[in-house]
Amino acid sequence: MVTAVLWVSGAFFMLQLILLTAIAINKNRSIRLNNRKLRAYRQALGPYIVYLSGESDVQPRLPKEKEIKIYVIEKLLSGYSQNVNSEAEKARMKKTADEHLQDHYTQVLKKGSWSERVNVLYFMEDFMMTSLKDQVWEHIQAVPERDEEYRQSMRVLASFGDERVLPFMLHDQSLSIGFTKELLRRFPAAFIDSLKTTENLPSGVLTAMLSYFGETGFYEHLPFVEANLNSEDKEIRLKALAALTQYRYYSDHDNLERFITSSLWEERMYGARLVGLLNLSRYSPQLMELAGDGNWWVRFAACEALKRLPDGEILLEFAAEEHQDPYARDMAKQLRTLRTGVSA
């Protein structure tokens, strides 16, 4: 028994010593490799920026060792992609990426580990490597889990304007509204227009579209947003209202009455916000009433809206001193002293 225990413990200890030695050697090697990579990057940075910006047509040499070369080019391009503006610069970046990374990325997509595959998918999008569109399309169909790899593959296809991603977006119930918006932000305008005319859009996609339209503030989408104020689905109506607060516009001021007197507190809240954002003084009596609403968020929105009106300070002063509801008085007092942003 004693011998067995000693053997097990000894073996475990030895195993750890071997692991320690291997890790220490590996660490030492990776420190040296990292230093070489950094040196190579620093050497390539200046000449490459000159080349990428179009000041020179001669492509600088890159290190021969593949691992260092890939590191240098990825680091160079990923820094550069943050600041690239003109079409010519984009084209040159794309050409450089294709030249040095295309084969490597194709190989990684097929044989790399999960994190390597995700990393190259990030870079493909940053470097606009549309030449790899079909590889990504094949890849997304083989992705086993609905995780970051799957989502990034969709982002890449959306960025490349590949309409084959649309069915994924329309039929995958597991996609979040936030993620659907990420795709919408990447889609070409023609995709968006075709989506607006698609019948029976899933409610998640429609919600995401309304939210996205509010965020962009493009007036061509406004009629679509306003039309959805009449939806029977409460979530759709709320998203349309929220979008209008971002547009800071509503064509039918009279219709606001319906929202600020709604039985749903969220509609009252958005209604109050819109009144404030649109500076509609004629609704100040209703706002004064909402300042004493049963819901904290409605009270907050009402007092915030009062503050925005031309005579807001006086109205808030009055509410703080004279309002019959004690909660309204407290909220008005808070809003007098609190600096608020746009809570759209």
């Binding site: 475990f12 979040s176 002293t337």
Partner: protein, 474 residues
């Protein structure tokens, strides 16, 4: 008579050997559960991974709650680290829980705060909030001053005051990485709200170089007692928490840093004020409410190191901390005893809670008896040397070898320490654990257990130096 005692001691020794062997195997099992996840994400480009949500207007806004009691030394650097967070929309709320030092006045002066009137919602009753302030420099920075009610009460007051749908609870002496909120919110955002709370890895900052409230260079402290805590944290987070999280039975999100869905916490009833283990107690209660509602929401842990904290550097403050932790654990398990082995609570009732009782709570007693038997056995020969040797090896396996494995795991995954020497130093100290550090903490944990049973104890506060003022690493 002597023969009878010897037999009893030997029997006890065998029970302890089986116990320690089993727990070691359990830890190894967790290591194998945690390993694949760590391996999967090992080479992930972390910056690119959070790039999207950093710019995304849909990233849920978060209220950062920082309870502070007599934190005049570190509060300003903590606030600065919070304000520097890379996150689209957040507010920082410092809750001065009746400090008797200069905590409030430092914040008010440094961040030019102006008093505001209050219209607080009261999701939970708390000690009265006396005053509230908003910074004139940073409109998203608030300070509320309340009467002393403890950390849980302060957090409840912060939740009442906060306006965003998610909140992060952070200790007043902690520093966050700039991307900490993004990383911890990512599972919530990616899951479309199915993740209701997340906790990140907490690291010890003693010894590292901290400039402008940011960890600039990670280095090891010189004090062995702090070094051992670093190793302990590796083991607890990289093996324990990740393993439990993968089984969806995580019971602790460290009080130092966690992110929560506010509605879920409100439904669960907020932080419990009359316990010293309010962080764990809340998580157990959230699990309970999720299971009661048959909700499919989850609690997740992310293995990225995101939060830096100051570890106790004196024996007395470490003792006080460990007694407090053990008492908190005992109280939480006692409060939720009906969940234990209750099939209704699935993994939590059938695995996680029994695990915490057997491995985290009463292991201290087993270990203490083990140490007594080993020492007594060697000195007075009342057990055979074979048994004493096996017990000794089990103790070493249980403490030192597992800790050194955690050190290797950390190096294999994050390799945050910049040189080979740091790795060797950590490995060496990990191997010494069973010979000095573990017996010491075992005694303190037993003290905590006794105090929990007797419902008494003065827990004291750690004398903080402030991590920003830590000695700079060479």
């Amino acid at each position: 008579m002597t023969g009878w005692i010897n037999a009893a001691v030997e029997a006890a020794a065998i029970v302890i050997i089986i116990y320690m062997g089993s727990v070691s195997l359990l830890y190894l099992g967790m290591f194998f559960i945690a390993g694949p996840r760590i391996r999967k994400e090992r080479k992930l480009n972390r910056e690119a991974h959070i790039e999207e949500i950093a710019m995304n207007k849909d990233t849920f806004p978060v209220s950062v709650l920082v309870p502070a009691y007599n934190e005049e030394v570190g509060v300003s650097s903590t606030v600065r680290s919070m304000l520097a967070l890379n996150y689209p929309q957040f507010e920082v709320i410092i809750i001065d829980d009746g400090s008797v030092d200069e905590t409030s006045s430092r914040v008010i002066t440094e961040f030019r705060m102006k008093e505001i009137d209050l219209a607080i919602r009261t999701y939970f009753p708390t000690q009265p909030v006396e005053k509230a302030y908003q910074s004139t420099l940073f409109p998203n920075l608030f300070l509320i001053r309340k009467l002393n009610g403890g950390k849980a009460d302060a957090l409840n007051a912060g939740i009442n005051f906060s306006k965003y749908p998610y909140f992060a609870a952070i200790d007043g002496d902690s520093l966050l990485d700039r991307d900490a909120l993004l990383k911890t919110m990512k599972p919530i955002i990616d899951s479309n709200g199915r993740v209701t709370a997340t906790g990140g890895t907490v690291r010890i900052a003693n010894g590292s170089r901290i400039i402008r409230s940011e960890v600039e260079k990670i280095a090891l402290p010189e004090t062995p007692i702090v070094l051992m805590q670093i190793i302990e944290y590796f083991r607890a987070f990289l093996i324990g928490r990740l393993g439990l999280s993968r089984l969806n039975v995580l019971l602790i999100i460290s009080g130092a840093f966690g992110v929560f869905e506010k509605n879920r916490v409100i439904k669960a009833g907020g932080y419990k004020v009359n316990t010293v283990g309010e962080d764990m107690e809340l998580i157990v209660r959230i699990h309970r409410s999720l299971k009661d509602e048959k909700s499919d929401q989850r609690i997740e842990y992310i293995q990225d190191p995101v939060c830096w904290t100051e570890a106790p550097s004196t024996l007395s403050s470490l003792r006080s901390q460990r007694r407090r932790w053990q008492r908190g654990l005992a109280e939480t398990l006692w409060t939720h005893r009906k969940m234990i082995l209750n099939p209704k609570y699935r993994g939590i009732g059938l695995f996680a809670l029994p695990y915490y009782i057997l491995v985290e709570l009463i292991s201290a007693i087993f270990e203490l008896v083990g140490y007594v038997i080993i020492v007594g056995g060697i000195l007075f020969a009342f057990i055979s040397w074979e048994i004493a040797l096996i017990m000794f090896m089990a103790t070493v396996l249980y403490g030192s070898l597992l800790s050194s494995l955690a050190v290797l795991l950390e190096e294999w995954t994050y390799h945050k320490y910049p040189d080979v020497k740091s790795l060797l130093v950590l490995f060496f100290w990990a191997l010494t654990e069973a010979f000095w550090y573990r017996p010491m903490t075992v005694i303190w944990r037993c003290e905590g257990l006794i105090a929990a049973i007797l419902q008494k104890g003065s827990w004291g506060n750690m004398q903080r130096k402030g991590i920003s003022a830590e000695k700079e690493a060479a």
